[in-house]
């Protein structure tokens, strides 16, 4: 499990990069869905591309890791968990 400090910083990074304006990192729960119709953020496939670009550039997580891994994009929790374990920089 990713620790709370990392999650908070990670979430802020994601929100800033994607220019999310319909929610703030504070009131967006870590287990809320990121993509799909149920999500408050309503992220789409282009956002996914941008998110992966950011994770590679900022945390050094190889982009290939996210191919065919839908479950990683479920929420902040799953994503932060994976990134903290596989990041080579930016921690």
């Amino acid at each position: 499990m990713a620790d709370t400090d990392f999650k908070t910083a990670f979430k802020a990074n994601v929100f800033e990069w994607l220019n999310v304006d319909c929610a703030t990192p504070e009131d967006f729960a870590d287990d809320e869905p990121l993509f799909g119709e149920k999500s408050r953020l309503g992220l789409d496939s282009l956002d996914a591309v941008e998110l992966v670009v950011m994770l590679q550039r900022h945390y050094g997580v190889p982009q290939k890791d996210f191919e065919n891994k839908k479950e990683l994009f479920k929420n902040i929790e799953t994503l932060a968990d994976y990134v903290q374990n596989h990041a080579t920089k930016g921690l």
């Binding site: 990069w17 994607l18 220019n19 789409d44 496939s45 282009l46 996914a48 591309v49 941008e50 992966v52 670009v53 950011m54 550039r57 982009q63 290939k64 996210f66 191919e67 065919n68 891994k69 839908k70 994009f73």
Partner: protein, 676 residues
């Protein structure tokens, strides 16, 4: 509106009082006793106490006579409608309000028929009898009625009295429907329940009444064939035939004629009529006879006329003559001389007549059945068409025709054959014409209607040919001459491995051929496509070979974009559609008189992976037949350290729109597929 309930009764003393009591709760009741033998003074008293009016026939005259008596009585009392129901208790008087409500709503004089809801427990013979009666009525009037045998009806009093019905018994109910329909009275169904008690007594005489019905139906059908208008019974005048409208809009009229009465059943009956008359020895009168009969019976005259061509001489008369000759002489007529063909012409006519008596019914059964099933097949609800040539217009039969033509004649003749076929599309397919109009107006401004038609024809032909070429190329081993028009900067990306690039395709010209073009590009290609296009692409993959081409569909993770990005990062070539938005995001740009919505994804991926976008365009050149491959100058979208916004990608999409515009000006006859 004044309405009475009429109960004709013959020997139903047991159930009558109950029916009258229940009916009286809704309407004034008139009981017509048709000479019952079980009539008692007590019954008379009961009816009186129920406040029912009673008329008695001295002897049994039939149900029709009883209803006519009631109609005359009602007319004298100024009643507008009578609702009849049977005295044996099979009808529910509680359903009278349905009729009352319906009558109040009527705009014109209408005969309402209670259509029995047949459930379990209904005798089989009743079901059959009903379908049979409905069929006769349909034949006689051309109108439809759900239950011609039902006795629960509402008659418009004045109009019904004006009809001259001959039947006085059960046949009256069949006859009055047909005559009312001829006379202009509308006929509507009202769904009703029925009750068939086990000990129900019916006075329907299976032999006598069936004979009467047969007689009356024969009379009615014969009457229908006589071209003299039936008596008009409405107070409003008979509508004039719309000859002037027909003459002013001949095409509209023909279209209506074809689409009217075109259910599988009606087409099958039209085919039967065409066969019976087409085979008959009425040389010179076939067309007139078929037109006449199909019109009178409200079938489909143009279809019947088209079909009767298969019985055109000499084959059909010859068959009949041979058969007729064989029937008389026990051998076939083999000598064809002046003697046998001209001098004995009257004998040959006899042979023809005899032969046709056998062959016409035989053929009509075969052809009628075939037409029925073909029509049912053709008219079945359309399923989503995901076949190889999903972008094609027109039916599957057309595709089959062309694939056979391709095999037999080769690509050149097959493409030439598209011209006459697309002529009809250009002439008659209004939807396609409407869709092509804006593009054609930009390419060829200020044209006369005739020139617009020519341009449209050419455009449709090219589209058809493009589909044909794709079909041709999708068979392994088939190739077409190629005219290459490749920008020098783009050339290295086509041939050298390790140079990642986005290959941008468009729905322009012979775009699917683009896929086969990649046969020549010996480098790994990942093609991202809409899931619906998967079957089409699988075929392409089969031609190109597994391992070289990979197909990802937009329903994969993140719309397949991550897979594409990974592929680009590894120096691969990724094929994307430049003019189809698969996600909500789009960049709007002007193209050829309309706004085009373009997806930002190709530009974003190229920017993020530092690869160029290479635009592929394909056109079909016809003289000589060849594919023109245009590869434009690579476009390098700029990367950013921030999130790339749509506005930043828009200039590249606009550049792409400019490239297609330029290419479509060079090949103005190529189709651009704007909509799915």
């Amino acid at each position: 509106m004044t309405i009475w309930c009429v109960i004709p009764v013959f020997n139903h003393a047991g159930t009558l009082a109950d029916v009258v009591r229940r009916a009286r709760e809704h309407l004034p009741v008139l009981v017509v006793d048709d000479g019952s033998t079980d009539w008692t003074p007590e019954l008379q008293e009961t009816l009186k106490s129920l406040d029912a009016h009673v008329i008695r026939h001295q002897r049994n005259e039939g149900k029709g006579a009883a209803i006519l008596t009631a109609l005359r009585e009602a007319d004298a009392a100024g009643v507008d409608y009578i609702v009849t129901l049977d005295a044996d208790g099979q009808h529910y008087p509680e359903e009278l309000p349905k009729f009352i409500d319906a009558i109040e709503m009527l705009q014109q004089e209408t005969l309402l028929v209670g259509c029995r809801e047949f459930g379990p427990g209904i005798p089989k013979s009743s079901c059959f009898g009903r379908s049979f009666a409905n069929f006769w009525f349909r034949l006689e009037s051309g109108a439809k009625c759900g239950d011609c045998q039902s006795g629960f009806r509402a008659y418009p009093v004045k109009a019904t009295l004006r009809l001259e019905c001959a039947g006085r018994r059960y046949s009256f109910e069949a006859e009055v429907l047909a005559r009312a329909s001829w006379g202009g009275v509308a006929i509507h169904d009202i769904p009703i329940k029925v009750h068939y008690p086990k000990d129900r007594i019916s006075h329907f005489d299976k032999l006598k009444d069936n004979l009467r019905l047969t007689a009356i139906h024969s009379r009615l059908v014969t009457r229908r064939l006589i071209p003299w208008p039936a008596k008009w019974v409405l107070s409003t005048p008979r509508p004039k035939p719309q000859i002037i409208k027909m003459l002013r809009h001949p095409w509209q009229t023909i279209k209506e004629l074809f689409s009217e009465n075109a259910t599988p059943c009606e087409l099958a009956w039209s085919a039967v009529v065409a066969t019976l008359l087409g085979v008959a020895p009425i040389f010179g009168f076939h067309i007139a006879a078929i037109l006449y009969v199909t019109t009178r019976f409200k079938l489909n005259p143009p279809f019947a006329l088209a079909l009767q061509n298969i019985y055109a001489p000499p084959l059909s008369p010859l068959l009949c003559i041979e058969l007729g000759y064989y029937m008389q002489h026990g051998e076939f007529l083999t000598t064809l001389s002046f003697q046998s063909s001209v001098a004995e012409l009257h004998l040959r006519f006899l042979d023809w007549l005899l032969g046709s008596l056998i062959l016409a019914p035989l053929f009509s059964v075969i052809v009628g059945t075939a037409v029925y099933f073909i029509a049912r097949f053709v008219q079945r609800p359309k399923e989503a068409d995901t076949a190889l040539l999903s972008s094609s217009r027109g039916p599957k039969a057309g595709l089959l025709f062309f694939s056979i033509l391709l095999k037999c004649t080769g690509i050149h003749i097959a493409t030439a054959c598209v011209w006459p076929i697309s002529f009809f599309y250009a002439l008659f397919d209004r939807t396609a014409a409407k869709r092509a109009r804006p593009t054609l107006d930009v390419l060829h401004p200020n044209q006369s209607a005739f020139m617009r038609f020519l341009h449209r024809w050419r455009l449709f032909t090219r589209q058809g040919q493009a589909i044909l070429v794709l079909h041709y190329l999708s068979d392994a081993g088939h190739t077409l001459p190629v005219v290459n028009d490749i920008h020098p900067d783009a050339a290295p990306f086509l041939n050298e491995k390790g140079k990642g690039c986005v290959a941008l395709n468009s729905h322009f010209g012979c775009w699917q051929a683009e896929l086969f073009r990649s046969n020549e590009i010996k480098r790994p290609l990942l093609f991202l496509a809409h899931p619906d296009a998967k079957p089409q692409l699988d075929k392409f993959q089969a031609v190109r070979g597994e391992g070289i081409a990979k197909i990802s569909t937009a329903d994969a993770n993140a719309g397949g974009l991550l897979e594409v990005m990974s592929h680009l990062n590894q120096g691969g070539m990724a094929g994307l559609m430049g003019d189809r938005v698969m996600d909500g995001n789009s960049i709007e740009t002007a193209f050829s008189a309309r706004t085009l919505k373009l997806p930002p994804a190709p530009w974003l991926l190229a920017a993020r992976t530092h690869t160029p976008v290479i635009i592929f365009l394909t056109a079909l050149q016809c003289h000589p037949l060849a594919l023109v491959y245009h590869v434009a100058k690579p476009i390098w979208p700029a990367d950013s350290e921030k999130r790339l916004k749509s506005e930043e990608l828009a200039p590249y999409a606009k550049e792409y729109a400019r490239v297609i515009t330029e290419f479509s000006n060079r090949f103005p006859d190529q189709w651009f597929k704007f909509e799915e």
